[in-house]
Amino acid sequence: MGAFEHPLRYIPDRTLAQVHAEVAVGALRDAGLSIRDVDAYFCAGDAPGFGALSMADYLGIDARLTDTTETGGSSYLAHVGHAVDAIAAGHCHVALVTLAGKPRTGGSQPGGSGNFGDAPEANFENHWGGSVPGYYAMAAARHMHQYGTTSAQLAAIKVAASSHAQHNPNAFLPKLVTVEEVLASPLVADPLHRLDCCVITDGGGAVVVVSPEVARTLNRPERAVAVLGHGEAIRHSSNGRIDLTHTAALWSGPPAFDQAGVTPSDIQYASIYDSFTITVLLTLEDLGFCAKGEGGRFVESGALEAPNGVLPFNTDGGGLCNNHPGNRGGMTKIIEAVRQVRGDAHPAVQVPDCELALAHGTGGSLATRTGASTLILGRSS
């Protein structure tokens, strides 16, 4: 597997397609391959124009397979899972997945999820001033009501992310913050504060998934990372019986763990989607790292802090502090998990002998419809 994260967080001087191209080249160089080797191309709703058709043309990929699965920020983890399946079925050998976005410099802004005018739900969701923070805040409020979770516990997630970001020279917010600073930051949508929210950044990333045969040819075992398991699911409004206390990770996790033949307690490092602190807390519970309702106590124990916590998470600083390119954090979740398995994370946050990592993406909106995709990554044997 090749992986590349764009180093910039503000890119006024390039087109969206250019950023896709830059990350594609970066990931292919990392894998030791060229664009001519790519026979499958994957992208999601952030790609300009006619999606895979426009971008494969622009990039110069003679794709024999494309996949434009769109589940928001979780899309890219689903793409990797689909690429693994397509490779196993013999449909392709080298799959490229790209993400890019420019919300700081003219690209699409983080708007209200579900504001699609012709969607069947549109008139029942678009008249209430809904926003992404507002929707996620309702999930936080319900969890607090049901399980006694506190704002200080949510803040502990931001604190852990910031303690990692201080070692990342590219991080958008590299400064260590305290629980008190999170709680003192302005409320955006009660009960979420400004510092409960992820950053808004230009940027992008790409990964390359190759067949075992291609991996052997490349002969770089120290760089190789194996996809051991994959699962995905969606959770929608369920005929109006939506349950805000869980995400679709409840269903994407088990098949990924089963396929890899491991359990949550085996995972040494986890990239957990962190659009908001509450997203992390719900996902930790849903994936089985702690019991439902125990997420608050789990995170305030310091469990997420690298390298010595029970479950070091988002050692690049995550979407909360490092990068959330194009308002979609899934790609960077994969990339940091790859760094951990390779031993390439910053020494201050590298998990010792990290052989087994998890990456998880969450897309859409928790208060309406949301996608989830889970990957288990490990050393290639």
Partner: protein, 138 residues
């Protein structure tokens, strides 16, 4: 007939939802119910998402429920900026569905999960009306 000064904009009714929006303009809140499996359906559509029956009819809802969850939006841009702060909520209707809406007619800081609320209708553009919810006054 407005309980709040929150923004409204035109409703674009479809063949699936025209009856629903005609009713809100008359001060009635309708729900779809499946005649085959008896599921109460939300949001309104022409089939039942539980059993896929197309034998669905409209019923009058009680118009009452409780706050399932809510958030107080304190930062926004565009039309809603002038309405800050406001309450976005999921209200659980007596009939079962949890529906997105606003809570109005109450100080935003006094809204609580579990609070009893009832529907209020607010004039939108061109004769249509939106549904929002206000506390049940005892």
């Amino acid at each position: 007939m407005s309980a709040s000064d929150l923004p409204t904009r035109a409703i674009v009714a479809t063949v699936e939802t025209q009856d629903f929006w005609d009713a809100t303009a008359e001060g009635r809140f309708l729900l779809r119910r499946c005649n085959t499996c008896e599921a109460v359906i939300w949001y309104p559509r022409s089939h039942c998402p539980i059993c896929m029956s197309t034998d669905v009819s409209w019923i009058d809802a009680a118009g009452t429920g409780v706050v399932y969850s809510f958030s107080i939006t304190r930062a926004a841009s565009g039309t809603w900026k002038g309405a800050l702060p406001y309450v976005l909520a999921l209200v659980e209707l007596d009939e079962g569905p949890r529906i997105l809406t606003n809570i109005v007619g109450i100080d935003v800081d006094d809204v609580r999960i579990g609070m009893a609320v009832k529907v209020v209708f607010e004039d939108a553009i061109e004769g249509s009306a939106l549904y929002r919810f206000a506390p049940v006054t005892t």
